[in-house]
Structures are given as C-alpha cells and as structure tokens.
Symmetry: C2
C-alpha cells in the first residue's frame, strides 16, 4: 500500500495556520442568519480543542465563549483569523491581523475581483495590507476551510468523517457533493478542505505543497476552475507526485464549460486539452468526470500503483466480465495474456465450464465456495504478465444470493484477499454488485483498507489511474533532460535586429537558428538579386527547387503569389523570380522585399506540426500533431510543458490518435520516431535558451522513415521581454 511520506526541503508556511491551535472569529455571532454563526457552531459542536476567540464589539459571550471587542483586545495572538465581515472592512482588518502577529486569515466575503473593476481595486488593497502585515490570505470569496483531524470545521458540515483525502475546491457545492457521497458510502473521510476563492495570495501550488507535507493527507485532490499560476503548480506537482498521489478535476472541458467557468471566477484558463496534458506530464491523475473524483482519490490513497497496464479480470459472471473488458480496453488498459502455468493452476481448482482465458469466468465454481475467488487471485498474482487484479461480480453477496451458511466462507475469502493485498506489490481492485448494501465481507475489506467499488466504470478508472501512476513513476526515475543549450551570439543578434526592426524572424533566420542548434535542415540560399540565380542553379543542380518571397510585410506568402514549386534549372528560377516579384508588388505595393529563399523541394512523407507558445498560465508549452485536418478538424494534438524529458517527447508521439499513421499504414514504412523525438527535444532546449522567442511554428515538418525535413519555420519575437 502506498506511502505518505514526503521529504521536502522548504516547509510550507501554511502549517502555521491550517492546523491552528487558536482561532479568532471576526464577526462571530449568535444570530443564525449571520455568517459568523456557522463557524462558531461548527467549532463548538465538533469539540475543537484549541482556543476560540469570538470578536464582536457588541457581545460579551457568544455560544458560551468569551468574546472580545476587537482583535487588538485579544489576550494572545491566535494562529488563524476567520473574517466574516463585509468586503469593505477586509483590508483594515488584515492590517489589524498583522499588528497582532496573526499568520493567516480567511476572508469569506465576496465582492472583489469577480465583480469588476471596483472589486479588483479593493482586492489589491487587501493584498497590500496582507503583504505589509505579513499575513497570508485564504480567499477572498471562499466557502472557508476545515481540518477534521483538528476538529476544526468552519463550515459546520454535519456527518463528515475525518480521513485521508485532502481537498481543495473552487466550488463549495463540489465539496458538499463529495461529502454527501462519502457519507452515503460510509468509508471515505477527509483531512483538510480549503476553498481557495480568488487565490489573491495563496494559490493551488501553495495548497499542494501544504497537503504534500500534511501527515494526515494520503491524496491531494483538487477541483480547479482555473489556475492563476499553472507553471508553479506544475513545478510543485512534479515533486509531490513522486511520493504522494495528486488528483485534479479541471472543469471547463468544453467551450461552453469554459464560458460558464470564466463568468464565475474570472480566472484565466489555458485550453482544457493543454491543461490535461501538462498535468499528466508531471504525474497528476486527471479525472474527467466529477463522479469519479472520490473513487479515484480513494483508490490512489489506499492501493499500490500498478507496474503497468496489464489487468487480470476474475469474474463470476460472463456479462460483467464482458463489460469490464470493454471498459478496460476503452481506458487504454490491456487484458493480461495469462501464462500456461496460471491457466493450468486455475483449471485445477475451477469447474470444467470455467473460462481460463482472461477475463477468467469461474462459471459457477464459486457458488458453493466463494473463497475460491481469493485463491484465484493468489494464482493470478503470481503471473508475471499480470500488473493488477480486478475482481468483478457478487463477492460479499453469496450468502444473500445462495445460502446463508456461505457467510463464513465469504469472510474467510475476505481475510485471504487482505493477506494477499499485504504481501503483493500488485493492486487488487474489487467491484461487487453488492457494494451498495455493504454486506459483512465487504465491510471487512473496507476496514482493512481495500476499497470495494459499486460501479465497474469507476473501478476501471481506478485501475487506469494506478497503472498511469506506476508507469509515470517508473519513467520519471529515468527522466533524462538534454544538456542546456548555450545561446548563440549570432542568433542573439538576429533577435535584436528583428526586434529593432519591429518584425518577427524571417523564415531563413528561423531556419538558421534551428541549424545552429543542431536541427537537420536542408540547404537553403537567400537570393537578393536576380543576377545570383546562375550561381544558385549551379549550386543545387538538377533537383527540383522551391522559391519563396522574403518580406516582413508579406505574412501569407501563398496568397500573395510568393511561392513557386518544382523549379528545375536556371530559366525556371528566373521566370519564378520575376513572377513572384510581380505578384507580390500587385498584392502589396509597399512591401519591402528582401529577396527570395530557394531550397530543394522536400520529398513526400508524413506531415507533422510542431508548435511552441508561451501560455499565460503554464508558460512555454510545446505542441505536436499531424498536419492538415488532424490539427484543424480533429484537434488531435499533444501538449507538454517545456522542458521536455525524452520520455515526454516519446509519449507525445504515442499519445495522438493518428499515431497509427506514423507507424505506417497501407504498407508504408513507419516514420523515424527517434528523429522526431530528437527534434522535439532540441526545440525544447532552444526555447529554454531564448527568452526572445515568443512563439515557434514548424509547419509542416515532413517525417520520413529516415529523418525529417523542416519545410517551413516561423518564429515570433517576444516583444514583452524587449524592455
């Protein structure tokens, strides 16, 4: 079962106030209609062991606790202040907090950035006051927080069990929903919850750091509408996921959803596909349906990750075995091919009609002795082709369905499964159709830390998450980054010149940059006067050439008639030169034409695209996909945050749906994947070396079975960094 240890050098400052020994409730009230009432009630009812300081200028006692007129009047400095007053009072109160030496404050009120310009100003005042006073701020516009291991429940949620799931959610309703789901299934509990609200000061990355260090949290779980600093979240997550699972549900997966999200929080948001890819890149388990958050978090918290994707299914019903197979395959998992030895051993204990091919269907063998299922699981566990074991069917309910006396055998079966779970390094994932009514054997499994799922679909999501986590951890152990690229003096000069001239790099400059840093590029010549064409023709010989106009004023070269293909010999080159000049002058009379770029036509091959953008949320991100309709219509692309490891680059190529085309279809040879991976890594290094580079677009790159050709290259200059 998974470890919860972490070993981080910098301890999160959030410990000072997220597990407080004393708390001030500013605006505490005995009036149930006030916001300051719920927090007081929650603390008093749940038996918070720390000191409570109600702050209210008009009351002596609130719910039996001595109250103080102001923060200044408190006899000591509390660890945390909960501020329940209206928005306008928040900055002044934070100043008071600072004076009193309070480390952290929660601002519940809304009415800040999310409401417009006036609110944004107030939020800035709030942040200034906090920074000045050395107070860290949760919110504003938050539902609050709880730390159940401290019996600190500022939301006054009833029936919420202390447990090991840490949850940070931009939606209060989502918290409520998970709490009710946990109450209903009876076996999941929470450690700390925080609503980050507007994330004015403390952001998702800070909460992640805290949860990673919190010994009561086994899984850090997030409901995110928008990251404010996604790059920092990635950096922290990369560290944390090495030792603790991190689960993220990101809302706004569709254009409609994004609209709904941004009208709600006002947070900027990178595209959904990009967000998912870069989170997975750093080992985060991304959940795509909201009702899978809790099952996946529970499974990752309790179960060992899997070494790989090969699942052995053991079932007592053919129908559910089929469903399990369908869902496993759809989730990208594989059915293990069982060894002959395994099948032989299963055959020895099961009835002749049992199916010994994965999914194993016991076909009635267990009707009189359900504990046989545990024996089968033990056999499957010893098969090297098996990475995880998935029990599907009616375990726990045999004594209900068949005969009461089977209860004893079911309990024995449960004990054997628990024993197996303790000794194996493979996860045992259990689905039972009796899970909704929690019969004794399933309760026993839960008590021993083996979750039992009531949905095949959810169980498969857990198996997928365990497999992905195992594969990620194995790959990240081998992560190799290319040596950093030293910026080249000439390239620096090229950028400086372009910046000065208020243009982006010319195609030949972009290509030259790539060539400088070891990207294989075809020979090219820039012709600035027609006289030089004799020389050019001689240089390239008989191979067909392409000629393209070079002009900062002509962005769409083809539209301007600025591209001529398949040119052979000097005469053709001269004709093309004249023709391009003429068309471009017609197209844009004032355009300054630098000359013509001449290069050999690329052979036919498979067109791919490599793009780089500096995302406002996640920083530099690389995109890879096949060209044409794959990008434009099917949006079949993969993203990774820069820098890429070799594993990242390989996994991008494997991720796209069109990978089959790269592997060769209709008898064509597979493209040279190593060369593509190498190109992706070089681009990653180049982007790191040049902050001057804002965007890069290699479109198309033609991939061959031996290497590639970069046919067009575009580099946009970063004007923001110009100052």
């Amino acid at each position: 079962m998974s470890s919860t240890e972490t070993a981080s050098p910098q301890r999160s400052p959030l410990h000072d106030f997220l597990a407080p020994d004393s708390i001030a409730i500013v605006g505490a009230s005995a009036d149930p209609t006030k916001r300051g009432y719920k927090a007081m009630v929650g603390l008093v009812k749940d038996g918070y062991q720390g000191t409570i300081y109600p702050v209210n200028p008009k009351a002596k006692m609130i719910l039996g606790v001595k109250a103080y007129p102001s923060l200044a009047d408190l006899p000591a400095s509390p660890d945390l202040a909960l501020i329940c007053t209206p928005a306008a009072m928040a900055p002044a109160l934070l100043t008071e907090c600072g004076k009193k030496g309070i480390k952290g404050a929660i601002i519940l009120a809304s009415g800040f950035r999310e409401t417009g310009l006036e609110g944004a100003k107030l939020e800035q005042q709030l942040l200034d006051a906090a920074r000045q006073g050395g107070v860290r701020v949760i919110g504003p516009n938050t539902s609050g927080m709880f730390n159940l291991h401290k019996k600190l429940n500022l939301l006054d949620l009833a029936n919420v069990k202390a447990g090991d799931i840490g949850f940070i959610s931009q939606s209060g309703n989502m918290l409520l929903s998970l709490v009710l789901e946990a109450e209903h299934n009876g076996h999941v509990g929470f450690s700390t919850y925080v609503g980050p609200g507007n994330q004015t000061d403390i952001g998702f990355n800070d909460y992640l750091r805290y949860l990673s260090e919190d010994p009561n949290t086994r899984v850090a779980t997030f409901y995110v509408e928008g990251f404010r600093d996604g790059r920092r979240f990635l950096n922290v997550a990369r560290e944390v996921t090495a030792t603790k699972p991190v689960v993220v549900y990101k809302s706004g997966s569709t254009e409609q959803g994004r609209k709904a999200a941004s009208s709600h929080t006002g947070a900027l948001a990178g595209s959904y596909a990009m967000t998912v890819d870069v989170l997975r890149q750093v080992g985060v388990s991304v959940v795509q349906h909201s009702d899978e958050i809790l099952p996946v978090a529970e499974g990752l918290g309790l179960l060992q990750q899997a070494r790989g994707k090969r699942v052995a299914v053991i079932s007592d019903g053919g129908g559910q075995a089929t469903i399990a197979s369908d869902r496993l395959t759809e989730a990208g998992l594989e059915l293990s091919v069982l060894s002959d030895a395994t099948r032989h051993r299963l055959g020895e204990i099961l009835l002749p009609q049992a199916s010994l091919v994965n999914p194993v269907d016991v076909a009635g063998s267990t009707d009189v002795r359900p504990s046989l299922l545990a024996e089968c699981m033990e056999i499957l566990n010893e098969d090297d082709n098996v990475d995880s074991i998935f029990l599907v069917g009616m375990f726990g309910g045999y004594h209900i369905r068949f005969a009461e006396h089977l209860l004893g055998d079911e309990m024995r079966g449960a004990e054997s499964m628990i024993e197996l779970a303790h000794k194996t390094d493979k996860p045992l994932v259990i689905y039972s159709l009796y899970a909704p009514i929690s019969p004794p054997a399933l309760r026993r499994l839960h008590e021993a830390g083996l979750p039992v799922y009531n949905s095949i679909e959810h169980a498969v999501r857990v198996l997928a998450a365990l497999g992905e986590r195992g594969i990620y951890l194995a790959a990240s152990a081998e992560h190799t980054h290319l040596a950093a690229v030293t910026p080249d003096v000439e390239v620096q000069a090229t950028f400086a010149k372009a910046l000065k001239e208020g243009r982006d790099l010319f195609e030949y400059e972009a290509k030259s940059l790539l060539r400088t840093h070891g990207v294989a590029m075809p020979a090219e010549m820039v012709v600035r006067e027609a006289d030089k064409l004799t020389e050019v023709a001689a240089h390239f010989g008989s191979q067909p050439l392409v000629m393209k106009v070079v002009s900062k004023d002509i962005l769409h070269k083809s539209d301007a008639g600025g591209v001529k293909l398949n040119l052979r010999g000097e005469t053709a080159l001269r004709e093309a030169y004249g023709s391009i000049m003429e068309s471009c002058r017609d197209y844009s009379p004032d355009a300054v034409i630098e000359g013509m770029l001449v290069t050999p036509m690329a052979r036919k091959g498979t067109e791919v695209i490599i793009g780089v953008m500096r995302d406002p949320i996640f920083g530099p991100v690389l995109m890879f996909g096949l060209g044409g309709i794959f990008v434009e219509i099917l949006e079949d692309v993969a993203f990774r945050a820069i820098p890429l490891s070799r594993h990242d680059a390989c996994s991008m190529v494997e991720q796209i749906k069109a990978r089959k085309i790269l592997k060769g279809v209709r008898g064509e040879a597979a493209v040279d994947k190593e060369a593509l991976v190498d190109l992706l890594l070089k681009i990653s290094c180049i982007v790191e070396a040049y902050p001057q580079l804002a965007e890069l677009d290699l479109n198309p790159v033609i991939a061959y079975d031996d290497g590639y050709a970069v046919v067009d290259a575009r580099i946009i200059v970063n004007r923001a960094n110009a100052s």
Copy 2:
C-alpha cells in the same frame, strides 16, 4: 409525462405464460441446495396468488404445497412450467408439456449449444420437441424470470420492488446489480424480468413485443451480448419505440469485450458501431455505460421526451453549472440561448450578482428561499428556445445546509416543480447533491414521479436520451421512403451471367446498374480491341481520361499495372493500352482480359465511401464515411439498416466526425449534401430490388459542391441465393 399505451395488431403469444395464473415447478425440492428449491421459496414467500404445482416423483408435499409425481398427473394444465432438471431430461419433459397443453416452459439447465457440438444437438432436440408439442421455450441456460405484478419471483430475489421497468438480460449478474442499485436508491421498481439464455426459441424481438404490450411496463430495457435475429428486433423496435421507450445496453463494444462475450454465449455479433447505429435508427435509446442503464430507463419511463437538444441549466453553484455545461456539450446537447424576456424576468427575482446567461447561476439568491428555483424553472419553461430544463445543485438540502426552517419553503418548491411538470411538455431533469440521503423535498418529487439524480453525468445521459427520443419521434413522423425500384431485366441478366461465370460484376457492369437506376454516372466506354481507340479518343475529345483493365482474374488492378491516369489524345490511349496489356500479362499470364474501361478523370473533390453488406445479424446495412484514413485509421463511419428514409440518410452525413470537412474547410465550398443523400437513398432502393447483390462498394465517390462522381464501383454477387 409519457404514455404507455400500445396498439399492436398481433398480440404476443408470450402473454399466455409470462403472467401465469398457474405454474408447475418440475424438479421442485425442499432441499436448499437444489435449483428447484429457490423457485418454490420465491413463490411461497412472495405470496404468489396463482396455483403452484410442484412436480417431484419422490415427495408428497414441498414447502407445504401438494406435489405431483409427474406433469401428466397434474389436475389441470398450468400456464407455465419451470424445468429445473439437468439438461438431458429437457427434450422429454417438453414433450410432456406439449401433451399436457402447457403453453410455455423455462429451461434453467446449461449444457447446450454454449458447450459445443454435443450440446448443440441436444438443443436442437429440445427445440424439435417444443415445436412438435406447441410449447414456447425460455432459455435454456437462463437464470429464469420474474413478474412482480403477479408476485411471481422464480429467482427468489429479496427486496425487489414492483415497478415499471421491464428488463431482459443475458447476464444474471446484471439483473442482480440493477436490483441492488434500485434497492439502494429506493425508488425504482421492475415489472417483468426474463433471462433469454440461448434464445433457442424465444428471442429478444419476442420479449420486446411482449413488453410493449405489457401495461405494467413503461420502459423496455435490454442487456444484450448478442442478437440472434437482429433484423427482426429492428422491425419490432421501430414499431414499439413510437409509443414506448426502449433502452438497450449492448456489451462487447471493444474487440476484447467481443471476445469475452462470444466465449460466454456463443452468439454471433455484428460490430458494435453498426449495432449502435442501427438500433438508434429505429428509435432505441442506446446506453454505453452499464451504470447508466437504470438512470436512463427511469428517466425515459417517467419524463416527457424533449422537442430538441436545447437545455436550460439553472444552478445554485458556479462549479456544478460548469460541469453541467461540459457534460451537456460533450453529449451533443446545446445550451439554450435565453430570450431577453426570460433574462429580464429572471433578473427581477434574482440578486444582482446572479448570472442570467445560460447556465443560470442564482449566486446565493435562493439561500433564504429555495422555492425561487421553481419560479426560475417556470420562467425558463416559457422560453421558446428551451427544450428541457436541468436543475443542478443542492435543492432538497437547503434546510440541512442553511437553516432548518427552510424545509417548509423547500416543500413548497417541490410542489411547484410537480405542478410545472404536470402542465409543461418539457422535461424537468433534476440533479441534487443531496440525492444520496433522500431528504423530504426530494422524496416528495420521487413520489410524484419526478426522478432526482445523484450524478450530473447520469442526469445528462437522461437529458440526451430524452432529446434524442424527441427528435427521433418528430423525424419518424415525417419518414419518407423512396418508391421501390423495379428490378431491370438487363441487370437481372447481368447478374445471371456473372453467377454462371462464377465471377462478380465487372466495374462497368456495376456502374451500368447504377446508371440504370438513376445514379448520375460519368460517360464510360469499354474498349475490347485497340482498333476502337480512335473512336474513343474522338468521343471524349481533349479531356484527360483514365483507362482500367477489365478482367475477372485481376482483382487488384493497380497492383497489376492495370490502371493509367491522365491520358490525353489517341496516342496516349494507345500507349496506355499496350502498357496495361503487357503489365497485366506479366502479372497474371493466365488472366482473361475482356478489354479496357475508359472514362474521364474525375475532378478533385472530397472522397467519400459508400458500402453495403448483408450482415448475418442485421441484414442489409449501408455504410457511409469519408475515404482514406477516415475509414481505415479513424473508423469514422455511419451505418444504417436498409431501407433508409431520407432522415436516415441525412443523419448519416451529420453523424460522422469528419462532417466539418463536408461542410467546407479552409475556404472550400461545402459539398452538395442533397446529392449525397439522394445517392444514399438510391443505393438503398437498389439493394432492396436485387437480392442477387451481396455487397456493394463505391470507393471512392468524389463529392463536389454540385453533385458527385462515382469513380469506382464494385458489386459482389450473392452466391447463397443462387440455388
């Protein structure tokens, strides 16, 4: 709310025994380890009101009921016999049933077709005995059946509530799973269940007919591993779905799943994608996750179908509004654009911070008066842009979350929603995060027939099913089929000749057939000797031509060098003729070459594929998709059973993911959709007219903004019909 009336001319013979007034239990037993015990216990415990005849040669009384030594000894002829004996005895017992005048028998035993050749023989004997005796057979190899409105529960399932969901399942575990789910959520009940087992006699289509006529069933629900006669199921379903919802979960959606399924039932199975498409074509609601079966069946049974796909979302939390928007969009639904009047009216009753753009977020407006949600729903109901209303959030739990006194207002809100549901023709779909704990307002909604879902994802599946059903019903009201095609005498002769010569149609014959039946075809000439090329060249003039070899012995014309493109003028034609002759003779020295097909080169356009196959399960099926990678790599195709209506043909073109390409990308014109639809309909009619046609393949058809060109046509002759 939906109607359960049906008006079918032929009454199902299954009524005679699926709602029996008397039943014989052959192999009844008081020994709890015997299969004949469970059925007896189930009948006695549940208080079955009909007559029970235990049949057992060794007992006088079983569980207090008088027993008889054999069927022949019964004092009357029971409606149904349950046969619990081993497989080998089944044929003889069916003969006895026949003699006694028993109309229906259930054979529980396995050991038939599913076990191999010997079993298949026994199954044939069983079927022969049944036919001879006039006995209809459920099974063999079945879990049995129940009819809860008759208190007839042959499975002895505890805690299963009578209700309106009829369920036919090839998996006994799936039944158990749904029963436990229903028990757990407390508000779903079942009418009749049957396990069809091997479907030796009675198949899914028969059960569907029965359920459609059963007044206790509002939704006919199926778990199918494999249809035996899919075409008949389609025919019955087309009739039934007009008045009663039909829900199908088909397992085996992946190759792995299909393998698991066929090792279990031995049933043949059409491809999953085809199965889904043809079921939807006849109005079946296809469910793709097993845990959505019950929510979708419940929703379709209780709620009005929607007129369209436009959903108004009303939410009391931004997070869940976003999730709802994401899932709705992914499911192919749309967010209604609310009218100005609607937004104005909402603005009048909600707080200023509420979001009045769909999804409507009340943003705290309902915290003190939850019944405002019902008022918002009433306003949304009056907007013509709204087809269905989706309430998302914490309704039912306000009195738990905020203040106990809100319970009264919540109950008033529930009453208003019930009133609205009764008067509107738009479905109200409700998700509440408090659904797991069933608070009073939600219980009240359930009692009044308004389901409340505990998962946004499931609620969205229900909305999608209601929208699809509404659109289907509207479209099927306008279904127009083309007039039947009369087979042409010459085409008949062509088929006869090909059949006699043991070959398929030549390309020019296939094209001629299409031309005969009104498909727009380019001019073509078959040249049987080189001398004729002068005439051919003169005929076609200067347009570029293509020449293809005509030979029954050369299937892969390009591989044999049998195709030459872009030929202009007589000289080019002569050269091509000689060259093709030479290559083809090299390729296949014995090939009989009939001549050369000459036709103009088709202009560039968008390549599509039309295919027809006679599926062993579903009969003639038409496939449509874009050519090349779209078919081969992305498997982006649509299927419809022949005959197609105009709506079917239109919906095929709209269904494929690549439809964007047909609509014109990168500034290209959209293809002529009407022409394509017309072509699909003509092909459908042609296939109906010629049973001699086994398969047809138009690959490619080039679609233009004005019409299309059929570039290649292949027709495989049906040798099975030759006799």
